[in-house]
């Protein structure tokens, strides 16, 4: 048994850490958020050059192996920096949808674009009444000769404002929550009938509400076989959940570390507040939460990299998201509370990390959703 990183993983971690330390401090991040696109195209090119955009993919797909543990290494460091570049949307969820579903030339083109840093993807899966169930798809895909006509509304489309290509789940047959009948289509963002209502999220990311009004795409834009996309979607979501959970683990660790530091310097009643046992025990609890969250994310990542059955993998991922959700609430809230008023302001990065982990708690299903998913599997 060995939980240490391989030499390659160690190098990957060093490389992300180096980038973050050099080019991603709090002020830089604020500037990026305030910019027109809300992410840095220069950073994105650098991610491509450093090979980070290839990490989620297998070697046969032109990637660096596609190990979930490798992905965890990157995401944890991104989480520490509260990085806003759309890595999960494009490379993890978007990329995995392509890798799982697409075939032949289509796959080659899309993955080539993602890995090369030329292509931004916005996975458009969630719908107004579907909550976190990827099978709840009311958006319709209707054949019209060689074309497919898409109609529907997608919410919380991450990276929607900057994407070249949307990956839209739509129903070709069956009832709203049927497992069969769902396909994923690659839709150019500028296609007639695509309305992208962009917004900034509460945690400083870019997202959009997307409406599809008689959007016509070629049948060849369908990824894979008609109506058979759900298993591929679920597998892509599992990988994304491990990614955002690892991101949360990184962010929580920083929240803990900053809280401990602050408690050593903040003086009230003539002494550092970190000397109060009431606060010490709560910081010890924060530490415990961080450790448990880290452990279960490692467990889930290892499961995805193993020969486990798809049910076992889904269960491990659900367990991770559920447990991380619990840690997010307790560590996030305690970090604010122990800092006091200062953490309520925009001026301190603690509040921004708190907002980020809150959004991560909701991403691809909150803790309660995944606890129930775990129980049902």
């Amino acid at each position: 048994m060995d939980f240490s990183y391989t030499e390659v993983q160690q190098m990957l971690q060093d490389s992300v850490q180096k980038f973050v330390q050099k080019s991603y401090d709090f002020d830089t991040r604020n500037k990026i958020i305030g910019s027109e696109t809300g992410y840095s195209a220069d950073n994105w090119q650098l991610f491509a050059e450093l090979g980070w955009l290839a990490v989620p993919f297998s070697e046969e797909d032109g990637g660096l192996g596609g190990s979930a543990v490798d992905l965890m290494v990157i995401m944890e460091e991104f989480g520490k920096a509260n990085l806003v570049e759309p890595y999960t949307a494009t490379a993890v969820l978007g990329g995995s949808l392509v890798a799982n579903l697409a075939t032949g030339e289509q796959k080659e083109t899309l993955l080539g674009g993602i890995i090369g840093g030329e292509l931004q993807i916005a996975p458009a899966l969630a719908e107004p009444n579907g909550r976190y169930n990827p099978a709840s798809v009311a958006t319709t895909a209707t054949a019209d000769g060689d074309q497919i006509i898409l109609n529907g509304t997608k919410i919380a489309v991450e990276n929607g404002p900057n994407a070249n290509t949307l990956l839209v789940s739509a129903r070709e047959s069956g009832e709203i929550r049927d497992v069969e009948g769902i396909s994923v289509f690659a839709v150019e963002a500028g296609s007639p009938g695509v309305k992208i209502r962009k917004y900034r999220t509460v945690d400083g990311k870019q997202a959009a509400e997307v409406t599809l009004d008689h959007v016509s795409v070629a049948a060849s834009n369908r990824l894979g076989d008609a109506g058979a996309a759900l298993p591929g979607i679920e597998s892509a979501l599992n990988r994304s959940i491990v990614a955002v959970s690892a991101e949360a683990v990184g962010a929580l660790e920083v929240l803990l570390q900053k809280t401990v530091e602050y408690s050593k310097t903040r003086k009230q009643f003539g002494t550092a507040i970190g000397t109060f046992q009431a606060l010490q025990h709560r910081m010890a609890d924060m530490f415990i939460q961080c450790q448990l969250a880290r452990s279960i994310v490692i467990m889930a990542a290892m499961s995805l990299d193993s020969d486990d059955s798809s049910v076992e993998k889904a269960k491990a991922v659900a367990a991770a998201k559920s447990r991380v959700g619990k840690a997010i609430k307790s560590v996030g809230q305690e970090a604010i509370q122990i800092h006091g008023g200062i953490a309520m302001t925009e001026e301190l990065d603690v509040g921004h990390l708190f907002k980020r982990v809150t959004a991560l708690d909701l991403a691809y299903g909150d803790g309660d959703y995944h606890t129930q998913r775990f129980a049902a599997l």
């Binding site: 909550r131 009230q268 509370q337 925009e346 509040g351 909701l362 309660d368």
Partner: protein, 399 residues
Amino acid sequence: MNADFTAEELAFQEEVREFLQNEFPADLKAKVDASVRLDKDDMVRWQKILFKKGWAAPTWPVEYGGTGWSHTKTHIFATEMGLYGAPEPIPFGMKMVAPVIMAYGSEEQKQRFLPDILESNVWWCQGYSEPNAGSDLASLKTAAVREGDEYVVNGSKTWNTLGQYADWIFCLVRTDNTVKKQEGISFLLIDMKTPGITIKPIVLLDGFPEVNEVFFDNVRVPAENLIGEENKGWTYAKVLLTHERTNIAGVPRGKRRLKALKRIAGETEDGFGASMLENASFKQRLAEIEIELQALEYSELRTLAALSVGKAPGPESSILKIVGTELAQKMDEMFVELAGYNCLPFVPEQFEPGFDGDAIGPGDSASAALTYFNNRKLSIFGGSNEIQRNIITKAVLGL
């Protein structure tokens, strides 16, 4: 033992309900229901309606224009206001500085300041906390040095809520450095238009500059603005702090929000064809909230009963503060949970007065995350919940 209202109290309750239905402006009701922030004009307008009715200051004695209500009637009034969603008066004038002026101010000060507070002609803000004096408030450093008929004030105050609207500020200032920290503090009233005062907004996690930093640079304040005696300010402020804790538990607001949670849960699909209200786990947690709210309500009623027979409010108010704020924060979490992805769009202008655009997603959900972020303040301000627990350990448990 009984928890019943008398016939007279029940009649009063009915009167308050009718008054709210008839007199609380519909446009303000719509804003409150849509979580749109009330601006200064809105709040002043509502206060003036209450003033016309004679209900502007439920807790003031009759001689100053108050209602002279019993504790129970005051409670009924606050409850009905909270259930209906009518905002309480901004506390700084009505609940914080006025009682101090009444108790320790000169006759002249009473005549000069109280009527304008009652009529909401003057907006007050609070100058207590400083960057290095938060939970340890008595370590404050803003200095007031007497020069002839004036005090010269230098220093800064922070967490100054809605000071951007304020005409006056009441401050705790240091007037003696040579004694124990609590003994060198004075209570000073300062006109915000005085030269040397600058105000810097602090943007909070929900994107709104709800609080400010206020800087004093050689601000000359007439000595007649001192309340009571020099160096007695801490005593005045402390007396005030134990007396202003009525309705701190927020039970009526909690009940109103619980109702909203149930309604939204009924309208929110769980993704599997049922509503969130039918979701076993959510339902159970909703029940836990409701039970906690009942325990809190009866704790408040017990405190109220003690007040009614003339007992001074004690450390029990710390229980109400802790449980009330933590329960409110639990509900914030549940609003976020219900909203899911719908609380992610950051469109702060849709909660500003005058917004007439098209909101993203269902209205009930849009403010959930921002409220969750902002309400983390509840367990920090007004004496943090750690300080409240210290009060219980010392004053009740004798540790």
